[in-house]
């Protein structure tokens, strides 16, 4: 009896995540995939059909450029967030516990800010009338206040800010579990703290770093407000154009086709990163 019950439970337990995956991911994805082949009816919404017109419209130099730019800006944001976040998390993990907690709570609080608030806060901070340039003028570093937004840098800053708390929270467990004897040993062998950081700590956590890069990359790909608020039209990512089609043009088939293609390309890119990571691991 006990044996039978155990098998039943053993069978049900993995079924739960599988079910959740089907309900919350596969079914919505299936609906989107279906709609992406539907026929757009300008005077209504769409009609069931099976056609490639929506994908055909997407395959143009115009959308190709936008796709490449979207990937590029998210990759930049991911790299920047990790470059800043990794040393930050390392030093955070070295602090006494009592000092760590308020900092982590602060980071969690930043997570509660929506994209809208982050976007508007940065656009004010970088504005001509109320922004940091006024401070620089006051200090004497600039002649007159200037607007730093909208620009590519402003967009990148906003995306990094959005991804930074995730960077820290994902890397924190691995870094705090890092055996302190490793860097100590390196230092005893005569490595400078800088050198031991780059030759011992960073390689030890290569998987964590790659994982974090992918997370921030994928996360910032979905940002559709920051590019509108902090970027110029040439900085509008594919997410902005998908929103325009879905909400303002009521062209759901085209929006779905763009989203599917975007998803596939991102997945391919992430897969490629993991594959390359595995190869170097075996080579090493």
């Amino acid at each position: 009896m006990t044996g039978a019950r155990m098998t039943l439970r053993d069978g049900l337990l993995p079924a739960f995540p599988a079910l959740a995956l089907v309900i919350f991911f596969l079914i919505p994805f299936g609906i989107m995939l279906t709609v992406s082949f539907f026929h757009r009816v300008p005077e209504a919404f769409y009609e069931p059909a099976f056609e490639f017109a929506n994908y055909a419209r997407f395959f143009s130099p115009f959308f190709g450029k936008i796709l490449v730019f979207s990937m590029f800006v998210s990759a930049c944001a991911a790299v920047l967030a990790v470059v800043i976040g990794f040393p930050f998390t390392y030093f955070l993990s070295q602090m006494p516990r009592r000092q760590q907690i308020p900092l982590i709570v602060f980071l969690l609080a930043v997570l509660s800010l929506s994209e809208v608030i982050i976007g508007f806060a940065w656009s004010t901070l970088l504005s001509r009338t109320a922004g940091v340039s006024n401070l620089l003028v006051w200090v004497g570093l600039m002649e007159r206040p200037e607007a730093f937004t909208p620009s590519f840098t402003a967009l990148l800053l906003g995306l990094c800010y959005l991804g930074f708390p995730y960077t820290v929270l994902v890397m924190y467990p691995s870094l705090s579990r890092l055996d302190p004897e490793l860097p100590e040993a390196a230092r005893m062998l005569g490595a400078s703290p800088m050198r031991s950081f780059f030759t011992v700590i960073v390689p030890c956590l290569r998987n964590t770093i790659v994982g974090t890069l992918i997370l921030v990359f994928v996360f910032t790909l979905g940002a559709y407000l920051l590019p509108q608020v902090l970027g110029r039209p040439q900085h509008w990512t594919l997410s902005v154009h998908i929103t325009d089609q879905a909400i303002f043009q009521s062209n759901l088939p085209f929006a779905a086709a763009m989203a599917i293609f975007f998803l596939l390309v991102s997945l391919a890119l992430v897969g490629l990163t993991l594959l390359v990571g595995k190869d170097t691991e075996t080579a090493a």
């Binding site: 919404f45 115009f62 508007f120 001509r128 109320a130 154009h241 009521s250």
Partner: protein, 370 residues
């Protein structure tokens, strides 16, 4: 204030829970008592749909009570979503012989789409004497001449500026092209709500006739592309631009005349100017679903709304431009200037958006973001 325009353009309307429950209770009551359906219909209020949010609230407060007092016809106010969604709902319901609203306020492009689908009931001109005063562009007709819609409310999009940055008011839309305004403008981001093609056509091509053909539209777009270096912000969210205009961060652009005037009256350093080429006059129109069983009452309502006195109330209380020409109105000069101007308006080419929506949208995206 952004709620004001959001209500006008995109706030999603919903049937409130309270109204839903009353309706359900009424239906249940009828079923239980077994009243004949005809009896119920006689007591049915006229269902009038306006954009949920600011418009619905204002109409509930300033218009419907007086209408009921004057005509004895009760109104059930329906908040409708803007854009295509309401048109689709009306169409689907009409196929089943139902009308979620008898009269609906429709944006012009959706009004034309409904007209093409013959969704609107033809109205009896003899029952609408007040529409005689309306200009032609506010009386919409089927090909056979019968009326299928009447202008309800209108509003202007004008050239706005920050009074501190520009002590002298600009006089022409040509200011948008002035290289002295590099990186200083805020313009609406979508082709279908900015009406910048009409503005460009009226300013540089002697009118919107050029927008008849695709070649003409592309020529206008080419001219419009010249403003790109001057544009700091292509906005979708009105609040974003208004705040930047008030602070002087983005000191010039296109915006709603009445909202700008309201901000100025509250002490903000902003002004709205009707350029020599005219402000853009956008509007909503009353249309009656062909499935409505209250066409008579709907006609009484539309005629009531087209009276000069009702239009004056709308201008004073809701801030819309009157559909009736100024000479019929008792608005003071100040009241009139707050909502409109005597300079002939630029009327949007709604037919263009209806006919070429996807093509236009694609070319526009390439123009702005390319």
């Amino acid at each position: 204030m952004s709620e004001h325009k959001n209500g006008r353009t995109r706030a999603p309307g919903k049937v409130s829970r309270r109204r839903f429950m009353t309706a359900t209770a009424a239906a249940a009551g009828v079923a239980a008592v077994g009243l004949p359906a005809v009896h119920l219909r006689a007591a049915d209020p006229l269902k009038v749909g306006t954009y949920g949010g600011y418009f619905k609230d204002s109409f509930d407060k300033h218009i419907y009570p007086d209408f009921t007092k004057a005509t004895g016809i009760a109104v059930e106010s329906i908040g409708e979503p803007t854009g295509e969604a309401w048109l689709v709902q009306l169409q689907t319901a009409a196929r089943a012989g139902q009308a979620p609203a008898d009269v609906s306020m429709m944006a012009q492009v959706t009004r034309i789409k409904g007209q093409n689908a013959k969704l609107w009931a033809p109205l009896d001109e003899a029952k609408l004497p007040n529409t005689k005063r309306l200009p032609e562009h506010f009386v919409h007709r089927y090909a056979d001449g019968s009326i299928c819609g009447v202008g309800a409310v209108s509003w202007y999009i004008t050239l706005v500026s920050n009074t501190k940055t520009y002590p002298k008011a600009p006089t022409s839309w040509k200011e948008l092209w002035n290289s002295a305004n590099k990186d200083r403008l805020g313009l609406l981001a979508l082709v279908s709500n900015s009406f910048l093609l009409e503005v460009t056509a009226a300013t540089w091509f002697g009118g919107t006739k050029i927008l008849d053909t695709e070649e003409g539209i592309l020529k206008v777009m080419q001219k419009l592309a010249e403003v790109k270096p001057n544009v700091r912000l292509w906005y979708r969210d009105e609040g974003q631009f208004q705040q930047a205009l008030e602070s002087g961060e983005i000191p010039m652009g296109q915006y709603y005349h009445d909202v700008t005037g309201l901000a100025a009256s509250k002490g903000q350093p902003v002004r709205s100017t009707f350029p020599a080429e005219g402000g853009v006059l956008d509007s909503g129109s009353w249309c009656v679903s062909k499935a409505s069983k209250q066409i008579e009452q709907a006609q009484v309502f539309i005629d009531y709304m087209s009276q000069p006195s009702t239009q004056a109330v709308l201008s004073r209380k809701v801030g819309t431009a009157p559909t009736v020409p100024r000479k019929h109105l008792d608005l003071t000069a100040e009241e009139f200037a707050a909502v409109a101007s005597d300079i002939p308006a630029i009327i949007p080419r709604y037919d263009m958006y209806e006919k070429r929506s996807d093509w236009l949208n694609q070319k526009w995206s390439e123009l702005i973001a390319g």
